[in-house]
């Protein structure tokens, strides 16, 4: 059965291989892993992130290609016409299980809360799928956590690190920050930053990309973890980050009626999983104790006093009208806050345009 019939030119028609007994067409440059994903074959991997260049580190995605002595890493192997590929042979499944036993053995047992990050359950899921108990392959643990790095955003629990380098690569390839790197080699490999320092002394911009791509939760969202003990389920609500004009898609994570965290949407058309520090971590104001709950008007004593909505609106309308009368329609310029809800932003531009007949309206996030 040919699953893809888009191939129409003579050259393209020849781009066909066989995967798990199924004939499949592919395009030039596609890797075996990408082909397997189109077929929904669940080839396991821990170092792969489809936004990054294939790395070939975890070796879990190895598949057998007939005619080749050893299995090949499907993430780094280009599809070629006529290849006969087996993604689930007894041999590769056995090696995958050994590799998972090895990688599980290097970390201490710990429950990894999903609040840690988008990909934080990947190792856990593979462990379940392959029935890895952690009894075999025991030995020394790798990686040293950095509890001393007391930045408010990113926990660096390298005890749980498996050296897949997704954090290093996302920082370089997607963010262009090159803040994260690799120290030492072999089993002593340690993810680090310049001179082994703290994130805030490095080139890190706290965009949180490393947190979201980490497959073990070794890098974790410290702000979200504040809600770890809350019993309610995590609910994700798709929204758009209000901070600037890019329009990054986000999933707002809530527990009960509390906003507990923000996660970039990997399928967000504007951001493909990227965020900046504001979109990722700056949401505490939503539930801040300092937020106003009633209107305030300034009294003759110069202080602000609680007031009813009618009082407050009358006072504001009088002020706007006075400004228009004394300075004309262009005497007032409105700037909407990036922290305002979209509905408020819409209302203020409508207000300026209709009541002043002016286009003197902007948004602080338009940069």
């Amino acid at each position: 059965m040919t699953t893809h019939t888009t191939a129409s030119t003579p050259e393209a028609r020849e781009l066909v291989l066989t995967m798990d007994g199924q004939e499949v067409s592919f395009s030039v440059g596609e890797t075996l892993y990408q082909v397997s994903q189109r077929l929904r074959t669940e080839v396991p991997t821990l170092c792969y992130d489809d936004r990054l260049d294939p790395f070939g580190g975890c070796r879990l995605c190895v598949v057998e290609v007939e005619g080749q002595r050893n299995p090949v890493a499907s993430c780094t192997t280009q599809a070629l016409p006529g290849m006969v590929v087996h993604t689930r042979s007894e041999r590769v499944e056995r090696h995958r299980k050994t590799l998972l036993e090895l990688v599980v053995s290097e970390n201490p047992e710990a429950r990894i809360d999903p609040l840690r990050g988008h990909a934080s359950q990947e190792l856990h899921h593979l462990r379940e799928r392959y029935g890895v108990t952690g009894e075999r392959m025991q030995g020394r643990k790798s990686g040293h956590s950095r509890p001393d790095d007391d930045n408010p955003f990113i926990a660096r629990d390298y005890d749980q690190c498996i050296s897949c380098y997704r954090c290093v690569r996302v920082c370089a390839e997607r963010e262009g920050d090159y803040a994260i790197s690799v120290k030492g080699r072999g089993f002593a490999t340690q993810i680090t930053v310049e001179f082994d320092g703290h994130l805030r002394d490095s080139a890190c911009t706290f965009c949180g990309q490393c947190v979201q791509t980490c497959p073990t939760g070794a890098l974790a969202d410290r702000k979200a973890l504040r809600a770890e003990a809350r019993p309610e389920p995590i609910v994700a609500t798709r929204s758009i980050c209000p901070y600037c004009g890019v329009g990054c898609s986000v999933d707002l994570l809530s527990k009960g009626d509390r906003l507990v965290g923000i996660r970039p949407a990997m399928d967000g058309p504007a951001n493909l999983g990227a965020l900046c520090v504001k979109g990722q971590f700056a949401f505490d104001w939503v539930q801040s104790e300092d937020r106003l709950t009633t209107p305030l008007v300034r009294g003759k004593d110069g202080q602000l006093h609680p007031a009813t909505w009618d009082e407050a609106l009358d006072r504001a309308a009088a002020g706007f009208a006075k400004a228009r009368d004394e300075h004309g329609q262009h005497g007032t310029y409105a700037i909407a806050s990036g922290r305002a809800p979209h509905e408020s932003a819409y209302a203020i531009q409508k207000f300026i345009r209709v009541s002043y007949g002016s286009n003197y309206i902007d948004n602080c996030s338009r940069a």
Partner: protein
């Protein structure tokens, strides 16, 4: 007067492959690499500081604090370990160990600054040139060693006195690139660093590859424990390497070349630079810019794609292949990467002809291979054997066998990478011969040609442990099977792992199988040959090791 950071950066910034020499210049100046120096380099070469910091920590010999380079480093390779490493470590203040430094055919080497001294006690250390190959004991004839013992061979005049550079001149004046490649192809010369890829085919691929400039890289990062052949070739016959590289450049259209030399050979660095300068002075290298770049202590840089990354100043992880270096090598341009021994064979082959070289081998095998023989034999040293020579002939007739009253219990192959051959293989019939088909059939391989000999006084589990510890120390950390597997195997060879023999063997075998099948480069696929061969040839010693542990 000491040069400033800026002066050194200005000196190197415009040169090809500038990072390693610039780091060495700073390392030489201060004795270590300070934060300030690294920040200046990052700025000067426009490298991310985090990357530069991480990459510097990858190399064993770059120090990050004083006394750094000035502190002695003592070889603790498998052979030296039995000849005085401990005494030297205890007797030399501040001394630390370094992996095999390629002097297995003499006393223990101690590297301090840019000086290598050898000896077995702190008081007995002396600077000595690396030993020449022993007088040729065979009758078939040598290729790369044929002239190496002649007087003044390392000088231009000495080299020329027996026909040196005539092959290059003849190739330049009378041969087309295709004709050169045809001779090399017909000779059967194959990669003598261990991979055995046909040299002519590699050169042809580079000659035909689009794009440029093309590059010849000589892999002189002889890091395999028990291998010291390239050192002998470069120290005593440097012009043979230079000539071979210049001929490779003619054949492929390359305009630049690098010799990537391991850190542990500082004297060799001087010898090579002198030879290159001599050859340049008389115009022999016109049109071919040849540079020496010094490594900084990383076994994996002997893997050609790690070497290229190292040369380019990147983190020395192996690259994913394809594409191969013949099309995407140094700076992603077509590149030949050849071992020292391979390149040293080129000029003799052009002078004497393809048939001559082919006939140096025995039976169907073409040519010769230098074997670095060390350990418990009476006459250790580099021997250029005809490919196909029985191992027994080399051990007993050429090298004099073990000490009187002793028997040979095991030999390693390919340094450590090829695992062990035990009594069954050494004494059985048909006899083991030194060629890949025979050795591969026995689960070993010839590789770079290091053979370490261990007599009946040695504990094989202990040796296997030392070997695996080396691989774990040198694993780059890129791929899971090697990074974790070498560590787990090391632990299991030194008292860790399951208690029962069955469970222990099952884990060791499963780890080894996964490493062999899935590792990203040769380090990870070769390391488990040690445990495989230990279980195959020495099951009793393994059982005793486990039983002793329980007690």
């Amino acid at each position: 007067m000491k040069h400033s950071n800026d002066e050194l950066i200005a000196r190197w910034r415009g040169e090809p492959a500038p990072l390693l020499p610039l780091l060495h210049a700073l390392h030489d100046r201060d004795g270590y690499l300070s934060d300030d120096a690294l920040r200046a380099v990052a700025k000067g070469l426009r490298l991310p500081i985090a990357d530069l910091f991480g990459t510097v920590t990858f190399y064993h010999h770059f120090s990050r604090q004083p006394p750094g380079k000035a502190a002695p480093r003592v070889c603790d390779g498998p052979v030296c370990k039995h000849r005085g490493t401990q005494a030297l470590l205890q007797g030399l203040p501040g001394a630390t160990v370094m992996p095999c430094a390629g002097r297995c055919d003499g006393p223990v080497p101690v590297l301090q600054g840019d000086l290598v001294r050898v000896g077995s006690t702190p008081d007995g250390l002396a600077e000595e040139p690396s030993p020449l190959p022993p007088p040729y004991p065979g009758d078939r004839g040598e290729c790369v060693f044929a002239e190496i013992r002649t007087h003044d061979r390392a000088t231009l005049a000495g080299y020329r006195s027996t026909g040196g550079y005539r092959a290059l001149t003849a190739a330049r004046d009378t041969m087309t690139p295709n004709e050169i490649i045809d001779v090399i192809t017909a000779s059967g010369l194959a990669g003598r660093g261990g991979a055995g890829f046909p040299t002519g085919r590699k050169w042809k691929a580079v000659a035909q590859a689009p794009g440029g400039p093309k590059t010849i890289v000589c892999n002189a990062d002889e890091g395999e424990p028990g291998c010291f052949k390239d050192r002998a070739l470069m120290d005593h016959d440097p012009h043979a390497l230079v000539e071979g590289m210049a001929i490779a450049a003619l054949a492929t259209g390359a305009t630049r070349g690098f010799i990537y030399l391991r850190y542990e050979y500082p004297q060799t660095l001087v010898i090579l630079e002198d030879a290159i300068a001599e050859a340049q002075r008389v115009g022999l290298l016109d049109g071919f810019d040849l540079y020496v770049r010094r490594g900084a202590g990383a076994y994996v840089c002997g893997e050609e794609t790690s070497l290229l990354n190292s040369l380019e100043g990147k983190h020395p992880f192996p690259r994913n292949r394809p594409p191969y270096p013949v099309t995407h090598g140094f700076e992603d341009r077509p590149t030949v990467v050849n071992n020292v021994e391979t390149l040293c064979a080129v000029a003799p082959i052009l002078r004497h002809g393809a048939a001559w070289y082919r006939d140096l081998g025995l039976g169907d095998h073409a040519g010769t291979k230098v074997i670095s023989l060390s350990g418990d034999v009476q006459r250790p040293g580099n021997y250029e054997v005809p490919i196909g020579l029985p191992l027994r002939t080399l051990l007993h007739e050429w090298a004099g066998g073990p000490a009187p009253g002793r028997t040979i219990q095991a030999v390693t192959m390919a340094g450590l990478s090829g695992g062990l051959l035990g009594p069954d293989a050494l004494q059985g019939t048909p006899a083991v011969t030194l060629d890949e088909p025979c050795l591969r059939a026995r689960g070993a391989f010839l590789g770079a040609g290091g053979i370490m000999v261990f007599d009946d006084t040695r504990h094989m589990v202990e040796l296997a442990h030392e070997a695996m510890e080396f691989f774990a120390h040198e694993s780059c950390g890129k791929c899971f099977p090697c990074r974790i597997g070498t560590q787990r195997l090391t632990e299991r060879l030194s008292g860790g792992g399951p208690v029962t023999l069955d469970a222990w063997t099952a884990e060791v075998t499963d780890i080894g199988d996964a490493m062999k099948a899935t590792s990203a480069c040769g380090l990870g696929t070769a390391a488990p040959l040690i445990t495989d061969s230990l279980l195959r040839y020495f099951p009793d010693q393994v059982a005793r090791h486990l039983a002793g542990r329980k007690a």
